[in-house]
Amino acid sequence: MVKVTIEGLEIDLEQGKNLLEAIRKSNLRITSPCGGKGVCGKCLVKLGKDDPENLPSPIEKELLEEEDIKEGYRLACQVFPHRDVSISIPEESREATLELMLKYATVKKIEEPALTFATLVLPNISNEKDLADIIAKQVSKELSQKIEDRELIDIMNDGKVRIWSDAGKPVAVSSLKARKISIALDIGSTTMVVYGFDIIDQKIVSAEAMTNPQRQYGEDVMTRIDFSMKSQKQKQLLERVVRDGVSDLIRKLASKMGCSSSDVLRITFVGNTAMHHLFLGLDVTRLGKVPFSPEIKNAIEIVGKDIHLKGLEYAKITAPPLIAGFVGADLVAVLLATDLLSSEIPTAVIDIGTNAEIALACEGRLLCCSSAAGPAFEGGNISYGMRATEGAIIRVWSEAGKLKFETIGKSEPIGLCGSGLIDFVAESLRIGLVDSAGTYVQKNCGESLVGKHGNARYLMYSSGRREVSVTQGDIRQLQLAKAAMHAGLEILIDKMGIKKIDRLLLAGAFGANMSIRNGRLIGMFPEIPLNKIMPVGNAAGTGAIQLVTDMNARRKIDAIAKKAEHVELSLEKDFQKRFIASLDFPHQDSRKYPESSRSVKIRVTRGK
C-alpha cells in the first residue's frame, strides 16, 4: 500500500494501481473520457513532489508538453506510485457536471413559501435569561433553549432576533446576521447533487455535485443491493460512505453560501428506492428479489443525527413517498415537477436511464413502471461508448451520402456518447447503411465496414492508432435498450385503455441533449408530432427543490404517490411479444410509425 494525498485527502492505494484509481476512491471527480486507456490525455494531475522512480511513460511524453511534464503535470492513468505521493487536480481536468446539473434543474415560482423568517424586536433585556424568557413566551419554549452562545452578543446589540419558520412553525432563532438555508438533495446511483436554498432571498443560490461514493462497491443498483445483503458490515459500509459523502457535500455547499452545516434547517432528498433505502439505513434485501417490495413507501421525516449526518444533527431530513422497488421517490418528484396528473391530454413522462422510469397520466389516472433499458443510452456496453464529455461524438448527420460528425469540445473523437450513437443509427437508416432490422447493409457501407455479420464494425474515424467505430453488436445493444423502453410505454398505454399518447415529456439531462427527431426515428418514442415530445430537464431535482420551498408542493406529494398505480413489466404476459416487435427500427409494425418508416431507406420484410 502507498498513501496518495489528493488535495488533503489521504487515500490508500495498492501497489500497481494508478492515480486514476486513487482519485476514483477519493470521490473527487476527474475527467477521463477514454476511461484510463491512455488515449485522450485528459486526466491531468499535478504531482506535489518530484518522484524520480516514476518517469513519464511514452504515452505521457506524446500527449503532454515537455514544459508541463517539467512542472509536474502527469496523466493520472499513467502514474503507478511506488511510494507516498501528494497530488492536486487542476481545474481543466475537473469534470464539469455541476453546470450541467444546475442548467437542467429549473426553479419554479414559489406559490406559497414554506420556509419563512420574521424579525422580533426585543424589549430592553439585560441578560440571556431575559432573552430566553421572551423567546419562550413569544415563540416557543423549545427554541428558547436552542439559542447559540455565539449569537448572544449580536442579538443583545441589535435588540432584535430572527425567527425562522418551516411550514408556519418556528424552527430556529438567530441574530440578524445569520443566514439559514435549506437543501434539496438528489441521490443518483451515479451522481449526487445538492441545491442550496437561501431562505432570505427565497431562491436557489448554489449547487454542488459529486460522484456517489457507493460506486466503488458496484456500478449498478443491483450489485450494491447484493453487496449490502452479504453482511451487516457491508451494509453499514454502503450507508456510511453515502452519508459521509452527503455531509461533506453539504458542508462545502453551505460554506459557499457563507454559512455552515449547522445553519441547514431542512434537507429534502429524492432518489431511486435503493438509494433512498441505503441512505436511510433500511434493509434492501427485498429489493433484490421478486416482487421487489420496498421496506417503506411512506414519506420520511427524521433528523440528521438519526442517520449520523455530520454537522447536520438537528437538520430535519425529509423524503417524499415512493411507489415501488424500482419506481422511487425520484419519479414521484418528477411527477410533481411536471404536474403530470393535471394533464388534460394523455401525457407520459420518461426518465431515461439504465432503468427507464415511465409514467402515464390520463383523466386523473396515473400508471407507472420501470423498464430495464440497460446502460446503452449512457454509452455503457458500447465498444467505443463513453459519457458525454470532451472528445465524445455527440452529433452525426450526412452530407451527400457520407456520415459527418461533431465532437464535444470539437476535439479529436475518442468515442460516442448515447446521443451520438442514436444519431449514428438514425442517419445510417436514412441513407441505407443499416436496414430496419438493425443489420449493416454491406453493399452500401463500402470500405468503412470492416468484418462480417456479428463481427462487422463501421469505422467512423480512424487515424493512426486511434479508431472510433460502431459494431453490429453496439447496434443490437441500442435495439435492446430502446425496445425495452418502448414496450414499457406501450404496456402502460394499453393498460390505460387508450390508443396513443398526445404528449411525451423527457426527464433527465439525456433527454435535453439528444435529437428527439432521431430518437423517434429509431423508435425510442412513439410517433407523435415532434413538438409534442418535450425535454423537461432534471425534473427530479426540480421536484425536490419544490418540496423544500413550496407548501403547495408539499401538500400535493402524498396524493400523487397514492394515485400512482405500479405495473411490474416482467409479470406482463405481453411484454416479451411487444419487446420483440419493438426491436426493429422504428418498429416491426410500420403502421405504428408511418412517417419514420418512410424515412428508413431499406425496410426488411419477413415471411414473404
Binding site: M222, T223, I225, D226, M229, G288, K289, V290, A437, G438, T439, H453, G454, N455, A456, Q472, G473, R476, Q479, S570, L571, Q576, F579, I580, A581, L583, D584, Q588, R606, G607, K608
Partner: protein, 211 residues
C-alpha cells in the same frame, strides 16, 4: 418427395409462417414419414436460422419468427407420428428455468428455443423456480443437463445451491447463464458449463452431452 422436405426447410429459413402449414399438410398427404420431415425439414431449417443468429447475421425477431414457423408446422406433423414409433432422435434432454426470486424470462426462452432448434428435448420449468423444484424435476425428468438462468446479481446464490445439490446427486450436468453471470462464478460454484450468450449455450450443451 424430397422437394417437400426442402420446401419445409426453406419455409423456416424464410420465416414463412403463412405457407408452412400447407407444406406440412402436403407432407402428410404424400405419406412422407413425419419424423423425417421434422428432422430433415424443420430441424435443418431452424439449425440454419440458429447459426445465422449465432453469427450475428440476423437478430432476435428473425430467430423468434423462425421458431414460430417451426412450431406451426410441428402442430400439424407431431400428431401424425404413429403411436409406438421410436420417436425423434434427440441431442439430449435439458431442464431449464430461471432461478428463485427472479422472473426474467426472455434470455431463458431464447436459450430454450435455440436448444430445441438444435434437436434437444427441452423441459422448461418457467421463472421464479424454487431450488427444490429443480432438484425434484431432475429426479423425475432425468435430463442430461440442468440449465439455470439469473438476470440479477441478487439471485445468483440460488444457482450455487441448485448446482451444489445436483452435482452431489450426480443427477445431471449443470450449466448457467444470464447477464450478471460470469465464467469465474460458474467455476467457483462448480457448474459444469457456462455461456455468455444463447448460441454459445447450445455449443456448450452439445459438449456436455458428449462428455
Amino acid at each position: 418427395m424430397d422437394d417437400v422436405i426442402e420446401r419445409l426447410k426453406n419455409a423456416v429459413i424464410n420465416y414463412d409462417i403463412d405457407c408452412v402449414k400447407d407444406i406440412a399438410q402436403e407432407v402428410l398427404e404424400k405419406g412422407i414419414d413425419p419424423i423425417k420431415a421434422i428432422e430433415q425439414g424443420l430441424g435443418e431449417g431452424i439449425k440454419t436460422v440458429g447459426k445465422r443468429f449465432g453469427d450475428g447475421e440476423i437478430f432476435l425477431p428473425e430467430l423468434i419468427m423462425g421458431a414460430e414457423t417451426m412450431k406451426t408446422a410441428m402442430a400439424v406433423l407431431e400428431p401424425a407420428i404413429p403411436a409406438g414409433s421410436p420417436g425423434r432422435t434427440t441431442a439430449g434432454k435439458v431442464l431449464i428455468g430461471t432461478v428463485l426470486d427472479d422472473i426474467h424470462e426472455i434470455g431463458k426462452n431464447l436459450v430454450a428455443t435455440l436448444l430445441s432448434a438444435n434437436g434437444f428435448e427441452v423441459v422448461d420449468l418457467g421463472v421464479n423456480v424454487p431450488n427444490e423444484k429443480f432438484i425434484q424435476s431432475v429426479k423425475d425428468a432425468k435430463p442430461n443437463i440442468v440449465a439455470l438462468s439469473a438476470l440479477m446479481t441478487t439471485t445468483m446464490p440460488h444457482m450455487a445451491e441448485v448446482v451444489k445439490q445436483v452435482s452431489a446427486s450426480q443427477g445431471a450436468k449443470t450449466m448457467i447463464g444470464g447477464a450478471p453471470v460470469t465464467e469465474d462464478f460458474a467455476k467457483k460454484i462448480g457448474a459444469s458449463g457456462y455461456s455468455g450468450d444463447a448460441s454459445g449455450a447450445v455449443t456448450k450443451a452439445k459438449e456436455l452431452v458428449k462428455k
